[in-house]
């Protein structure tokens, strides 16, 4: 099996890896295009066949995985290697399948998120409303308990009531996430955050929650709100949550 098929297999099982490709070489028997796959646990596939150079490639690859930085490095004179980080699609979990969820799921898919939608109302959590998404019709808590959420997961909470928001957040906040956003008026949001604080969620973690949700573009319609949320998701994925928060602070949120 060639390296490309191997990479698609790794991505199927949602493994992030570093792909090290020789891009120029004056070293005997090492040709441009030669590839090494290095996984986070340090396991290696492929390589140049030269022990010393493979050792160096692995070292830089592990470093690249840690820093998440893609770059070209001349690992020795006459041998340039491009260290690429290849990751699965980021996952977006939308809690609440109402009016905003529909355009949000569409926009998020367009910008390369794999989308899961959860609601306990089967007429809303209807797969025909969410083409190309995973749709779960179940209680929010049960659904979230069965959903894998990790540091590359984005979670948007747009349920129909503050009691559901609280339930969802108590499931999600104890886990690590890339992003958590919560919709709602100041009053509703304040109430939810206070309940969670009383439940023992640390205040630092509560501060991670993006609320009000979305970049401040003056959105009003469900589609506009979905657009502003999608913009925020992209900002966090491409840049950082610090940058996304800064954009809000400009107008005093």
């Amino acid at each position: 099996m060639n390296m490309i098929s191997r990479m698609t297999d790794l991505l199927e099982t949602s493994r992030t890896f570093c792909l090290a490709t020789v891009i120029s070489s004056s070293v005997k028997d090492i040709m441009p295009g030669n590839k090494t796959i290095v996984l986070g646990d340090g396991s290696v596939e492929g390589g140049t066949g030269n022990n010393r150079l493979d050792g160096l490639i692995n070292k830089y690859a592990i470093q690249a995985l840690k820093t998440q930085k893609k770059q070209t490095i001349d690992i020795v004179q006459g041998l340039s290697v491009f260290f690429d980080i290849v990751a699965q699609k980021a996952k977006l979990v939308i809690c609440g399948a109402g009016h905003i969820a529909k355009p949000l799921a569409q926009f998020a898919r367009k910008v390369d998120f794999s989308v899961t939608v959860i609601d306990d109302r089967s007429n809303f959590a209807d797969p025909s409303r969410f083409e190309g998404c995973e749709v779960i019709t179940d209680d929010f808590v049960v659904a979230l308990q069965n959903t894998n959420i990790n540091t590359s997961s984005f979670v948007v909470i747009i349920t129909r009531g503050h009691e559901y928001d609280t339930e969802c957040l108590s499931e999600i906040l104890p886990r690590k996430t890339a992003y958590v956003g919560l919709i709602g008026s100041r009053r509703r949001v304040g109430f939810v955050l206070e309940m969670l604080s009383n439940q023992g969620i640390p205040s630092d973690r509560l501060k991670d929650v993006f609320t009000p949700i979305g970049l401040p573009i003056g959105a009003e319609s469900p589609e506009e709100i979905a657009l502003s949320i999608t913009a925020e998701l992209v900002c966090v994925r491409r840049k950082t949550s610090v940058q996304a928060k800064k954009l809000r602070s400009v107008i005093g949120i």
């Binding site: 490309i4 698609t8 441009p32 491009f82 990751a87």
Partner: protein, 106 residues
């Protein structure tokens, strides 16, 4: 298209016996439309998947990829300069330059 989709497409092309070039941005300087790691596939018939930034840069890449598939048949580094005069019709809108690794798959 994300990396996974590009690689899936490449596997698909290989299984169907269609030769293509995988292009990956390996270096950037100044203002470029896409970041390091952005990928694009170019087939002989001109079909493309993904993007390394559009415009003239991609046109240059397409010619290089087709030359690579027909003639050189080995990987190469293509340097693309986007700093040409902004007043020129069809000039690129970005001001940087980038290097692209172009790799043929048969």
């Amino acid at each position: 298209m994300n990396d996974g989709e590009i690689f899936n497409q490449l596997v698909d092309l290989q299984q169907n016996g269609i030769a293509s070039c995988l292009a990956t941005i390996i270096r950037t300087a100044g203002s470029t439309p896409r970041e390091i790691g952005a990928k694009m596939l170019i087939c002989l018939d001109g079909t493309t998947y993904g993007s390394i930034g559009g415009g003239c840069g991609e046109r240059q890449l397409q010619s290089a990829a087709i030359r690579c598939l027909l003639k050189d048949k080995k990987p190469e580094i293509l340097d693309i300069d986007l700093t040409v005069d902004l007043n020129v019709k069809g000039g690129d809108v970005c001001g940087g330059n980038l290097s692209v690794f172009v790799e043929p798959f048969f």
